[in-house]
Symmetry: D2
């Protein structure tokens, strides 16, 4: 067949006696030698992280694993109720809602900081003002700041800044993320501190992760979290109760229109 | 509403200033203190692993992250071609094929060993013979042995046994898995050594992981692997080429029936 | 590359000026000429249905489109809340729970009847007794009979039998499905009439649909139903309320352990 | 619990002896009385279509069912290879790629025409010029025009226009879609006739379908198409061959670096 484009992947290959991932022999150089976070970094970036990069990358991933009973967790549990034999389908259902609303804000923060570029000596506060103006002018929320529950601050943020600093990875992106928060507070008069997704976005940039992969990292982190929820669901389910209550309530006005009318 | 069953999850909760996962304060006791594999173990099991358990659990997860260009990877890449804006959907598509054929064999090995129970002093070889007979009689393959490519042995298996032994977790389940392999070889006259999924199944049992969660662990591990493939696909795609070739070839006999006939 | 197996699909092909599906020119012979149910039958079976087959097939599909606020619908709505930009992901999430518990029973009924085979002159009641015994002995529910809500009968069943009879497609499979219901009632002493999925299973067999495709037909039918739910969700959402209530209730015992204790 | 928002769905409800969808008794008024396309319209819009609306809606859905061996079909088939027991997962995997690249263009055309509004007496050609300029200025392709294979015209488009006209539904949106094509041709000097997705977008507007639901309609239509592909895959698979070839080719440069070098 003419005009063929060669298909090519640089990630892994294997032969009868070897498995090689990103140039390392999996059995002798990876297994038992490298930790899981470092292996994930290697898989994505193509080279192993330094010890410092690994600690910061691990902190990013861990921050995104478990966020309580979220819509994502509920979709996974409800799927499990119908297809308990397909755990992979329940995990997948839980991942499918990790779009623009939830994981999107870590991606958005990384993209915002990436588009700005690192500290180039210019006045950071003024640059942050321009960024905030840009988002507000376009009608979009500034990503990575404020939190509906964690007030006055998101308790993960100072810890993430600390881990970055301890590992020499608190640079211009971290500083710019903080400045964006200050600029947004100046502009709106509200408390809008950097939240965990903003910190994740900033640390992703410090690590040189492409912003396009930040959502993917969040997705894999949630997959880790969902496995725990699905084991719990198989032992102490909540899906049937959610179903029963929603079904009864949502169609009550159709089922008992006269009682509904009387109740008014 | 009467008859309500209380919904209950023991995994996590948060307040304005705290996030607690499995009883540990996430910001102060987990982030920067616990490694990713240990956190995953904690999330699933409800208690933190010992250092030895953590190393063996980590080896299990890492073994399942990256298996080259698999149907799962291809489904993810093809999905990315149509919805590059939804990385979560591409990861999910890649996970959906992790069913009975692929990840199923680690689950199957864990279940087989779990059903047998650990070493109880009886003659292991005889018990292994009975297990193998049971599978063959029901027309099913014995899970966790043999490999189409890795011959004579799967190079990951001895390394996994080694890690288990180094961490004091090479017990009755590991021994039984080996005996199953020997029994199958005796019975069939073929070389059927324990493969990586068999070793993963045995180590899962040594760790006390419920067999129902083994597939889930495989699914989350592959999610980690897929993120690397999707970043590569966004930069050096193969989906369009797979599509073009399959489309041309699969319908050639319909498109050019006369040429097809002539070619015979 | 040697050893290639030719890839081949007989479903469709196209050229610059034509699109051909299952041998019919799509623009001139299908569009505006064939109804949607007939086109679906053609797509699956490879030949167009007779008018009678089409009516019965359409009744099967329509029976599976809309079942109220199900776990499947809830998973789709919760996914939409996180990724409103990816309607395809929300539909997919809704389909993923259509496994062994829900759609599985139509598939199970079709498979049961297929394995039995059509009326061969033997005593039907006795054959039905054997089938029921087989299921009960293996600890499985007999598929296609009984209903938790629709009592004493599922109102769709007599209508489906009627449509089959009107179209000359009420044969040995329908009779056997009824006999299985009678046998189960004799055996258990409970009212266990044929439910909608049992009728769907029987009519699928009458049409010659392979039992392996019955679940797929249910899946596509639910996709039709989910689109309506997702439009409603985008206008009058329930996902956030489900999330809020589940989150509060499920972790109350962790959040307020003392109040919980006091309430006892 | 205070602050509860009432959950409410107007789609369906059931009791022991009735199932009601959009106000119609399913067993007596829908099953065997209404065709599948009309039922789908009812499900989405909340009211039954006129006969004319039903024919045009059916033409839209049917146009989107089967597009040959697409990335979507391949993702479904590859998923089936790993989880043949979960047809719902294979269908879902096939739907997940129906994002911005493929189904997106029908949605985009509907949105473009919806934003413009119907014929209001102004000079259509001039308004179309402005639309085309807007898309080109923002660096986006004008949706619904041109086709890589179907040249000089997409054979489905004239048939869709014909069906619309026969049913009295060829109005201002159809005219505007044609004008957009002319404007794009004037502006670029290339042949850019309305393609099938452009016609689908225009007819969706004529029917009053919200543009947000057009992608959903495409998704459900493809679900119908995928069921046929998955039955074919289970009988005459291509997934393993795609896998084998991609695996061999993609990692050849890693597996045999010296031979690769020699071949240059």
């Amino acid at each position: 067949m003419p005009d063929e484009k060669r298909m090519r992947s640089d990630i892994a290959w294997s032969s009868a006696d070897r498995i090689v991932v990103r140039g390392l022999d999996f059995s002798s150089d990876v297994l038992g030698k490298m930790d899981l976070a470092s292996f994930s970094f290697l898989q994505i970036m193509g080279f192993p992280p330094t010890s410092e990069q690994s600690r910061v990358y691990e902190a990013i991933v861990m921050t995104l694993v478990e966020h309580g009973i979220t819509p994502s967790v509920l979709a996974a549990r409800l799927t499990h109720a119908g297809a308990p034999e397909s755990v992979q389908a329940a995990v997948a259902a839980g991942l499918l809602g990790l779009g623009s609303v939830f994981i999107g804000s870590a991606e958005g923060a990384a993209r915002m900081l990436h588009d700005v570029g690192p500290d180039d000596g210019a006045d950071l506060a003024e640059r942050a003002d321009r960024i905030v103006e840009g988002f507000l002018a376009s009608g979009n929320a500034v990503p990575g700041i404020g939190h509906p529950i964690h007030k006055p601050i998101d308790p993960r943020t100072p810890r993430l800044w600390e881990i970055a600093a301890e590992n020499g990875l608190s640079g211009g992106y971290v500083e710019m993320m903080k400045q964006v928060s200050f600029a947004a507070e100046r502009r709106t008069g509200r408390r809008l501190p950097v939240n965990a997704t903003g910190a994740v976005g900033a640390l992703s940039c410090e690590l040189g992760l492409p912003w396009e992969t930040v959502r993917g990292i969040g997705v894999m982190a949630r997959a880790i979290g969902l496995v725990g929820h699905l084991l719990e669901e198989s032992r102490n389910p909540m899906a049937h109760e959610i179903w029963r209550r929603a079904d009864v309530e949502a169609s009550r006005h159709l089922r008992e229109p006269s009682e509904e009318r009387r109740a008014k």
